[in-house]
Subunit: 303 residues, 2 copies
């Protein structure tokens, strides 16, 4: 039995790319339900300009509505030092910074070159640590870019090596637009791990082309310690209009439970909460295990 | 660069579990389109009682409508000797027989015990070979049973060893109800390969719980030579009401193309034909690459 950590990203990366505006009350309820089914590290929101990302308005207020427990880590996405200051004031436990592998995506996403985004992310990690909090960095479009196409693995490895200088809690490789395949994930996770010493590798996957769960398994086999996932598989990507969401927490749990990989989550509870989330979003969500049911559960048992 | 063979099963396992009755003309057009995008081994239909499976009526007539070429293999599913005779008379190149891992499923699926189903399948393989055709066997519910739950790997390995005595073209392991996970697929493919000498192993997967593509990759890594897939991901399972279909040909192709695994298929052509199939079925199909598009293809290129 091995173990893997899941960062639940439904409240941020999931909701951010959904059209339906979700109230702070529903977001707080979602986070309480995530905790109930086993989530302990949760990306609760971001501290960006609410005019640009209306779904993320009020993350400060949201944090004040959440339970506080020593075993919970609330992660806030921050894109610059002002966002970090807001996050720290609101009481985040961890700052998540983002840099992007290509200039084309970095300019459109955050108005920086790729190199500039490394600098800003490093500064955020150092400042978060100076404030006594945790700081980590995600490398966006690590497996492919919607503007520049293939991204050389060497570029991502070089970025990870540079980021490792500020000793973040972990470095994440994000398949932001859902193009990765398992062989690529195996290779890149292995290469990045070799480049950054003992710093843990997290992997962030989207299931846009049906490879998300295969990529998750490849990441685990290659030694990633942590995976992002979103209840119900909600989300998308503003730069990839047909992209579906993050890999679904309950689909990931199903695979891991049946593979004797411990997560600390309760799959049955997660399925129940995913059904509640469907009522909030008012549409069927992409996750499949919530629809098909778990296994083993025979037809006689179901009846 | 390695290579893998795909058996296209949309015309049989795919359509059989769809409610919309598809005309013989549309089936023939589907098969012509499958050939156009690279399919060379195609499960065209079954020779069962048309009162029990109306979608499979007229497979004899369908075969007469199809192009005949030396590089094409038309597979017919047969459940008994009478079906084999019909298939041979209709001109199939290969008979596909089925046995089932549990008595509970075997009785409901074909009115036999599991052991009896091995005997019938073996008889079909021998008779097909005696008629100068190819014969192969699929072990149904090899990764789990909707009636009996977990299926011991030892049972499946023992079945494969018994079937190997009649030297079928290959032995297939079928995740009929879509419950397998990659670690299980790796283990079972490896164990069965060790038990049956040089007989090739095919794997038949459904994406019911979002593990289908992950399982396909695990099967390839464990040495399976052939995978079943259905264009569009059409299909289901009569004994698993919420099951979605076979793994989608185009989703499989996307993963394999980007992993330098040769298939002989053209992904862009497959996507085009999947869109045609959606118009025939008159609903969105589960395959995801047809919706999201392939990669690398940048937003500029698309515009």
């Amino acid at each position: 039995m091995t173990a893997i950590e899941i960062v639940e990203v439904a409240p941020r990366d999931g909701l951010q790319n959904e059209k339906v505006l979700v109230s702070l009350e529903d977001k707080a309820e979602l986070i309480r339900r995530l905790i109930d089914c086993g989530a302990r590290r949760i990306e609760v929101g971001s501290f960006v300009n609410p005019k640009k990302v209306p779904q993320m308005a009020g993350t400060d207020e949201l944090l004040a509505m959440l339970p506080r427990r020593g075993d919970l880590t609330y992660v806030g996405l921050v894109m610059n030092m002002r966002g970090l200051e807001r996050g720290l004031a609101a009481g985040i436990d961890e700052a998540g910074a983002v840099c992007v592998s290509t200039d084309g995506f970095a300019m459109r996403n955050q108005g920086q070159t790729s190199d500039e985004s490394i600098g800003v992310a490093s500064e955020i990690v150092l400042a978060a640590k100076a404030a006594g909090k945790s700081g980590q960095v995600t490398i966006g479009a690590a497996f492919g870019c919607p503007f520049e196409g293939e991204v050389p693995a060497e570029r991502v490895v070089a970025m990870a090596r540079k980021l490792a200088e500020v000793a973040p809690r972990e470095i994440a490789l994000a398949d932001t637009i859902g193009v990765a395949v398992p062989a690529q994930v195996s290779r890149l996770v292995t290469q990045v791990r070799e480049a950054i010493g003992g710093i843990p590798v997290r992997v962030h996957l989207h299931n846009t082309r049906n490879t998300g769960i295969a990529n998750a398994w490849a990441a685990i086999e290659a030694g990633a310690t942590t995976l992002d996932a979103a209840l119900g598989g909600i989300g998308g990507c503003p730069f990839a209009p047909n992209a579906t969401g993050n890999i679904a927490t309950e689909d990931l749990l199903y695979m891991l439970d049946r593979s004797d990989v411990a997560t600390g989550y309760d799959l049955a509870a997660a399925i129940g909460h995913a059904k509640w989330l469907e009522t909030v979003m008012n549409k069927p969500l992409p996750a499949m295990v919530s629809r098909a049911g778990s296994f083993p559960q025979t037809i006689e048992q179901k009846a």
